[in-house]
């Protein structure tokens, strides 16, 4: 694998402009002082209770995501390009969803093969022909971006269902500002703290027409045992909206109400962090206790907005991903600003043959998987693992896609042996309301803390960093 692009150091010894001030500061700061603040940061995280749960880990149900105190920095110029690309991408995702559940122009034009939609378990026939308020499907998108060189931003994944991680973006900044006021004084860092306000106004803007002029928004969580529960309560708090569980809501004559100490109160917009499958036991999984019976009929009646809409999974599906550049062109008539990772679709015999021949060099992902589970990283895998995976792949080729192992960019990171480059990605959060699309400058930078590792997922030993966009 080629030497990765480092976001701070230019081969030959120079520094990229965005990092010059940080480098000076690092030189002036003794390592012990840095270590002290690192420990301080960990203590703060633990006390605030910013934890997540790792499924299948019985030892500790709550863990901290490791936080790296060295910020990841991008210039304002870079951000402008990225921002434009993200808005374009999310606009296309929304138009695609609207089309798939209504006229299906894109299928007739044969840009995307029909069976990828109709045989896809995340396609929701219940949404066919259903009008969603203000035609917005993906109100909150978390687009995973990686870099391999100074020029391009590459989309790794479009998260259009219930993307998480924004609380880390906000808390990381809070903690950095508390611990490193001197470093902030030396940079002009664009603030992220407006995110909750932007989110609330986006959510209020998409209230159904039957709502009052002061629509009531609530955040629906699966409950305290969910891995992202901290984030749910954090956001509800920052937005000043009720954090509800399924059992707090009740549907009566196709309207949604929450049970309060003063009786039932109508809810107009639900920012839901419960997956489609569990949201209404009458429509989807009947065994779900997390959802609200009858919610889908209130939705069909147009009395409630769900953010994100039901059925958005069809847009961020890994099988659809490889068509995204065409999707952007089809709806917007523009060249995509953000690139895609070259992707082999194992459902296509030619691609499959190539993948089977090059397993040791490729990353193979389950089309419906997420969180870094169930994937093969060829270059890091043993022979036996590769062989086992080969059999799986042959049995069910349509369940997989393959991509080259990208040399993800690196950023300086605190390690046991001092600062060292570690691979990173970035998840900016794109908010779409009835009229505008906004992105808070920054996002969640995830970092693979193990040397050489490319897996940034928190469930697999990844950490996070504060992301700075310089306001030049």
């Amino acid at each position: 694998m080629a030497v990765a692009f480092d976001e701070m150091n230019i081969p030959g010894g120079d520094l990229r402009p965005a990092y010059q001030e940080l480098a000076r500061w690092l030189k002036e700061t003794p390592p012990e002082a840095l270590e002290y603040r690192r420990q301080e940061a960990e203590l703060l995280f633990r006390r605030i209770g910013i934890t997540f749960a790792v499924y299948g880990d019985s030892e500790s149900t709550e863990r901290l995501i490791p936080f790296d105190v060295i910020p990841r920095i991008m210039s304002g110029k870079e951000w402008t390009v990225l921002e434009k690309g993200l808005k374009q991408r999310v606009k296309a995702l929304n138009m695609f969803l609207r089309d798939i559940y209504h006229g299906r122009d894109i299928l007739r034009a044969e840009v995307v093969p029909e069976d990828l939609i109709f045989q896809n378990p995340v396609f929701r026939p219940e949404m066919n022909g259903q009008q969603v308020p203000h035609d917005v499907y993906v109100h909150i998108a978390g687009i995973d971006i990686v870099r391999v060189d100074a020029e391009d931003f590459i989309v790794l994944e479009d998260n259009a269902r219930t993307p998480s991680g924004v609380s880390y973006m906000l808390e990381n900044r809070e903690i950095m500002m508390r611990l490193f006021p001197d470093l902030f004084a030396r940079h002009k860092v664009a603030p992220v703290e407006r995110y909750p306000d932007e989110l609330l106004s986006a959510l209020r803007s998409v209230a159904p027409h039957s709502a009052s002029s002061e629509p009531t928004v609530a955040l629906l969580t699966p409950g305290v045992y969910n891995s992202a529960y901290y984030e749910h309560s954090f956001l509800a708090d920052k937005l000043g909206i009720e954090l509800v569980e399924g059992r707090d809501l009740v549907v009566k004559s196709n309207e949604v109400f929450m049970r309060t100490t003063e009786g039932l109160k109508r809810v107009d917009v639900i920012y839901r962090r419960v997956d489609d499958d569990f949201i209404d036991p009458l429509t989807f999984r009947p065994d779900s206790v997390l959802g609200v019976p009858g919610l889908m009929s209130a939705y069909a009646a147009g009395n409630i907005t769900l953010a994100n809409a039901v059925g958005t999974g069809i847009a961020d599906d890994k099988a659809i991903y490889s068509y995204m550049p065409d999707i952007v062109k089809f709806y917007l008539g523009e060249e995509p600003i953000l690139k895609n990772v070259p992707t082999w679709r194992c459902r296509e015999p030619k691609d499959l043959a190539y993948v089977l021949d090059n397993l040791n060099e490729l990353v193979v992902k389950e089309v419906h998987g997420s969180g870094g589970y169930g994937m093969l990283i060829g270059p890091a895998a043993t022979k036996a693992t590769i062989e086992a995976f080969r059999e799986k792949l042959k049995r069910e080729p349509e369940g997989f896609i393959a991509q080259p192992t990208l040399a993800l960019s690196t950023c300086p990171t605190c390690t046991a042996s001092g600062l060292a480059p570690r691979h990173v990605d970035l998840r900016p959060f794109v908010l779409t309301g009835s009229k505008t699309t906004t992105i808070v400058p920054g996002g969640l930078t995830r970092v693979a803390l193990k040397e050489g590792s490319l897996v940034v997922n928190s469930s697999q030993g990844g950490g996070t960093k504060d992301t700075w966009i310089l306001d030049e």
């Binding site: 309560s233 009720e242 954090l243 707090d248 049970r259």
Partner: protein, 314 residues
């Protein structure tokens, strides 16, 4: 507010208050059992501790007899005892997580850091008296800190009032229980053989509700059983007296009633109990029977809990 949120706040306050009360009970029992037998008589103080905690029957399903080791363990750490200090703190933290949005960061920090701190005590236990004393003190301090942060940082709205309801209802229950178990040593002197024996019992009761110093300030007298009873039942200046708890319960319920624009059975029931306390004096209570009076109170108090639940929390 959400009914579930109100319910969680209410129980959160109850759990914290209960944990503190248990810690005080253990503390007081340790003191009194450290005295030579001649001073405390033949009663099994550890058995009384179980009774005041309301867990005697479940305890005796597991153990033959009550002694310091097994009662301290059962009340502090046992996972089988739903109202052990450990389970109270665990439940308080779980409730806090569920209603984080309704808590101030100071309240959350108190519960969360106590929970983190106590993880070590749970895993190692307390091997020495000193460890145990430290643990009991820590639990009491946690409750003080929690109560103080609620008082100083919460908005004065329904969230605050519901949490206060939990606190005072639990407190009233605790005070009433200790009176129920110890009422026989509180009978007027002429009916009872007084002596050094009872003196330590009385001071132990007062200690477990943190009222020993208060007693002297209020009555400026040596310990007298009917005055101890008067202090814990009728004296409105003592925060843990039944009268004071009901003063607070009616006030908080009234505030909820005003904010929501309507009164209900909870308000009426609480007012009824408060009126009874206001119009009683110790003579009447002794005439009527302390034991009966207390038992009636315990039933009335738990009835109020049920009414509040029905009216607001489900």
């Amino acid at each position: 507010m959400l009914s579930r949120t109100a319910e969680n706040l209410y129980w959160l306050a109850r759990y914290v208050e209960r944990a503190e009360y248990l810690a005080r009970t253990i503390d007081a029992t340790l003191r009194v059992t450290a005295l030579p037998a001649a001073y405390i008589g033949k009663t099994n103080e550890w058995d009384s501790a179980l009774l005041t905690a309301g867990v005697a029957s479940s305890f005796y399903q597991q153990y033959e007899e009550a002694n310091e080791r097994n009662v301290v363990d059962y009340l502090s750490f046992s996972a089988d005892n739903p109202s052990s200090i450990k389970n109270c703190i665990e439940a308080a933290r779980l409730n806090s997580r569920s209603v984080r949005t309704a808590l101030t960061s100071e309240m959350w920090d108190t519960i969360n850091s106590a929970w983190i701190e106590l993880q070590e005590v749970w895993s190692k236990g307390t091997s020495t008296r000193e460890d145990l004393a430290k643990f009991l003190r820590f639990v009491q301090e946690t409750s003080l800190r929690f109560d103080g942060s609620a008082y100083r940082t919460m908005l004065r709205n329904d969230a605050y009032w519901f949490s206060r309801l939990g606190l005072h209802l639990e407190r009233a229950d605790n005070t009433a229980r200790i009176l129920d178990v110890k009422y026989h040593v509180l009978l007027p002197e002429e009916e009872h053989v007084g002596g050094p024996l009872d003196f330590y019992q009385w001071s132990s009761i007062l200690r477990s509700v943190s009222a020993l110093t208060a007693y002297h300030w209020v009555y400026r007298e040596t310990l007298k059983p009917w005055l101890v009873a008067d202090l814990l039942i009728l004296n409105g200046t003592l925060p843990r007296s039944l009268a004071s708890c009901y003063e607070n319960l009616t006030r908080n319920l009234d505030q909820i009633g005003v904010a929501y624009g309507r009164q209900g059975p909870a308000q009426r029931h609480a007012r009824g109990i408060r009126n009874r306390l206001e119009h009683s004096n110790m003579n009447d209570i002794f005439q009527h029977g302390v034991h009966e009076f207390i038992q009636e109170f315990i039933a009335d108090n738990s009835r109020l809990g049920e009414i509040i639940t029905k009216q607001y929390l489900i």
